[in-house]
């Protein structure tokens, strides 16, 4: 497809010709795109950067100006990232975010897949709990109604996946078992949860969970949302794990059987490690998906990252700057999700490479 450069012709010219004008129709497209870019990009740069207001005491200067109002971000970023957490203690959720990100990055690196990884997680989560709630070690107590922003998004996602994962493995095994009752229960749960929107599950958790519990027992809103997210993620993860289980060759089951291993030992020692390794890329994708889905808790009144942005907009001082606000929110989400998806691709590539090499 790439033609050898003609003798004496400039390689750059060749590239332009082959990549931008390979055919008449394509050339028209190139010209059209360049024209549209010419029309759209300079005004956008004007709006977003040149005419924009970056710092000001309030929004008056913004309303007078023609450009974007980034004061919104520079003035309010603390609230957006940390919610109503007490101002002086902001270092605590910041540190918690850093810890969470480190834990996740470490978990996705194959060199950390050792026995002590679960212990590291327990220690990390305990540390985060202490940081966020406080109450000991000289830290002031902050009730979880005041948690918000990015740290809430990360916590909901982390516990969502963490809680969903064991449940998903059990569901997948149940679905593949040949016992009709277990299979029926698993299929029923999975198809029910996958067939309804997440919102309905959040509503169910928010308004119906209090009804399900005996009088006098109450669970707070955060826990309700977390349970809904766990059940939701479990159904989708179960399908991912089931896919992995299906790919493990029959010969592995037979070899384990031939050694005389019982069902659970066979499943835990031989089948699941292989199935889960295969399922890592879609698992990471599910993580990214759940991270995005946490934005829906705004609808039931929890203060995740998107919600804090929206709340700032309701302030009359800042109303009308929705475009800037949501662009900023998009950027934050994009940075996280894109980094995770790139990482997942690299991981997939690395795993594929390690499995297949054989001297011939």
């Amino acid at each position: 497809m790439a033609a050898a450069p003609k003798k004496g012709s400039d390689p750059i010219f060749e590239w332009i010709r082959a990549k931008l004008f390979p055919s008449p129709l394509s050339s028209v497209a190139t010209v059209l795109i360049l024209y549209l870019a010419w029309q759209a990009i300079p005004p956008f740069i004007d709006w977003a950067f040149l005419d924009a207001i970056w710092r000001a005491p309030d929004s008056a200067a913004c309303r007078a100006a023609a450009g974007a109002c980034w004061v919104f971000v520079t003035e309010k970023y603390r609230f957006i990232l940390f919610g109503t957490y007490p101002y002086e203690e902001h270092w605590r959720p910041a540190l918690a975010i850093f810890l969470l990100i480190t834990l996740w990055a470490a978990s996705l690196a194959p060199m950390f897949w050792r026995r002590w990884l679960p212990l590291m997680w327990l220690a990390g989560l305990a540390a985060i709990g202490v940081l966020m709630w406080g109450g000991i070690g000289g830290l002031s107590y902050v009730e979880n109604e005041r948690w918000g922003g990015l740290v809430l998004t990360l916590l909901l996602t982390t516990f969502g996946i963490g809680g969903a994962f064991p449940l998903a493995v059990l569901l997948a095994l149940a679905r593949r078992s040949r016992m009709p009752v277990l299979q029926g229960l698993a299929v029923g749960f999975i198809e029910l949860v996958r067939g309804v929107p997440l919102i309905s599950l959040l509503f169910m958790a928010s308004v119906m969970l209090p009804l399900f519990l005996p009088a006098g027992v109450s669970i707070d809103k955060l826990l309700r949302a977390q349970i809904a997210l766990i059940l939701f993620a479990a159904a989708y993860l179960a399908e991912v794990v089931r896919g992995g289980l299906q790919v493990v060759p029959r010969g592995q089951y037979e070899a384990a059987d031939a050694l005389g291993l019982s069902y659970w030992r066979k499943t835990v020692l031989v089948i699941l490690p292989q199935a889960l390794k295969i399922a890592i890329p879609p698992l990471v994708n599910s993580f990214i998906g759940l991270f995005k889905d946490t934005s829906l808790v705004l609808i039931i009144g929890l203060f995740d990252l998107l919600s804090t942005v929206k709340i700032v907009l309701t302030d009359p001082v800042w109303s009308g700057f929705g475009v800037e606000a949501y662009l900023f929110a998009s950027l934050v989400y994009f940075v996280f999700c894109y980094a995770m998806s790139r990482y997942s691709q690299r991981l997939e590539w690395r795993l594929a490479r390690a499995e297949g090499a054989r001297p011939r």
Binding site: P180, I199, S295
Partner: protein
């Protein structure tokens, strides 16, 4: 026959009985608590509330007439109709747009490919809700009031009260033209079948596609002309603070549907791209070596195989779009979840409300799944 603990049938029985028992126990626990709590809070049970007057207006309706004095049942029906409207338009438009973007990503034109890639990467990594809010803010804050609406095409207006465009006034000739269209399609299908049979028997080929196209488009056009080409438009006109006449697309609908289309199209683009890439190069080389022309290769080699890979995940995206339309509640578009939410707030009957929402969505998603599975099975039978 002795029953021993190592007998697999006994074990299976024990596992299943305990699982069933545990589930039933949990169910009984939840239900009895619910009944108690409902009684305590004096909330009614049952679906009798559906016949009561709703008492709230709904911003926009789809073919279903409704007023504030309608019943809850009517209100919910409007909600369902609105949901279906968004879902159907979204699915069709997203498929078209997604396919184009997927093909663009595979294009030899570097600019086109990079643009498409950038689009897909950005959209897929930002939550849908953020994108919906963004579009809504864009429309609400950055479009002018109706007085100063942008007329970007003759008769097409864009303002912060929505998008308005003219629609032809219905005339008898249109009905006739539509009938002619239906007849034309039937004839074209019959012709295509006949041509295929003829080809199998005698090997002679006809320009089937061209003739079929003529059969489909010709009769309606002729009917229309014959009846005097009556074409009158109901053009939106500014009256007071808003437009009247023509068709109105509210900002809520536009933001929701537009956002859903752009979002889902990105995922469909990836599916289409993966489908086309999944075809081994050797297949196309073999087809070329046989001397088949481009169009035939596309139809007999590329499309069947690509479709087999594309259809299952595509079905998934259709389901996702339908479920994602429930985010309308955050934008203010009166879909099923919005209306049900209002109903729950007014009547306090959360259990029934949530049950209705879930039941409707389950029906819709199961229907789509069944249809696509049927289509999939047919393709599999035909192909192999």
């Amino acid at each position: 026959m002795k029953l021993r603990s190592s007998d697999p049938r006994l074990r299976a029985l024990v596992y299943q009985v305990s699982a069933a028992a545990a589930t039933l126990l949990l169910g009984w626990f939840l239900i009895s608590n619910t009944i108690e709590n409902l009684a305590e809070r004096n909330i009614a049970s049952g679906f009798a509330f559906l016949d009561r007057e709703a008492g709230f207006a709904i911003g926009e309706t789809t073919f279903v007439p409704y007023s504030a004095s309608g019943t809850y049942l009517e209100a919910l029906t409007v909600g369902i109709a609105n949901t279906l409207r968004v879902a159907l338009i979204g699915i069709v438009a997203a498929t078209v747009l997604g396919s184009l973007i997927g093909l663009a990503r595979l294009s030899r034109n570097w600019l086109l490919a990079k643009l498409a890639s950038g689009y897909v990467e950005f959209i897929r990594n930002v939550p849908l809700l953020v994108q919906l809010f963004f579009f809504y803010a864009l429309i609400a804050e950055h479009t002018p009031v109706p007085r100063e609406a942008i007329e970007f095409l003759p008769g097409w207006y864009l303002s912060n009260r929505g998008m308005f465009f003219p629609v032809p006034v219905f005339h008898a000739a249109h009905a006739w033209a539509l009938a002619a269209l239906a007849a034309g399609i039937a004839t074209a299908v019959a012709f295509a079948r006949w041509a295929a049979r003829r080809r199998a028997l005698t090997g002679g080929s006809l320009p089937v596609a061209e003739i079929a196209l003529a059969l489909v488009l010709g009769p309606p056009a002729l009917t229309f002309i014959a009846m005097g080409t009556p074409l009158e438009f109901d053009v939106p006109r500014l009256s007071g603070f808003n437009f009247s006449g023509g068709v109105a697309l509210t900002p809520e609908f536009t933001a929701l549907t537009g956002g859903l289309i752009l979002y889902t199209a990105a995922f469909i683009a990836e599916i289409v791209r993966a489908g086309i890439l999944s075809i081994p190069r050797g297949q196309i080389e073999a087809a070329c070596a046989l001397g088949l022309r481009q169009r035939r290769i596309l139809r007999f080699v590329i499309l069947p195989q690509a479709l087999r890979v594309i259809v299952p995940p595509l079905t998934n995206q259709y389901l996702n779009l339908t479920k994602n339309s429930s985010l309308a509640v955050a934008i203010g578009y009166p879909d099923l979840v919005s209306v049900a939410n209002t109903t729950i707030n007014q009547t306090g009957q959360a259990v029934e409300g949530v049950a209705i929402i879930m039941a409707v969505y389950l029906t819709i998603t199961l229907t789509i799944s069944v249809v696509m599975n049927w289509y999939n099975a047919r393709m599999a039978l035909r192909g192999q």
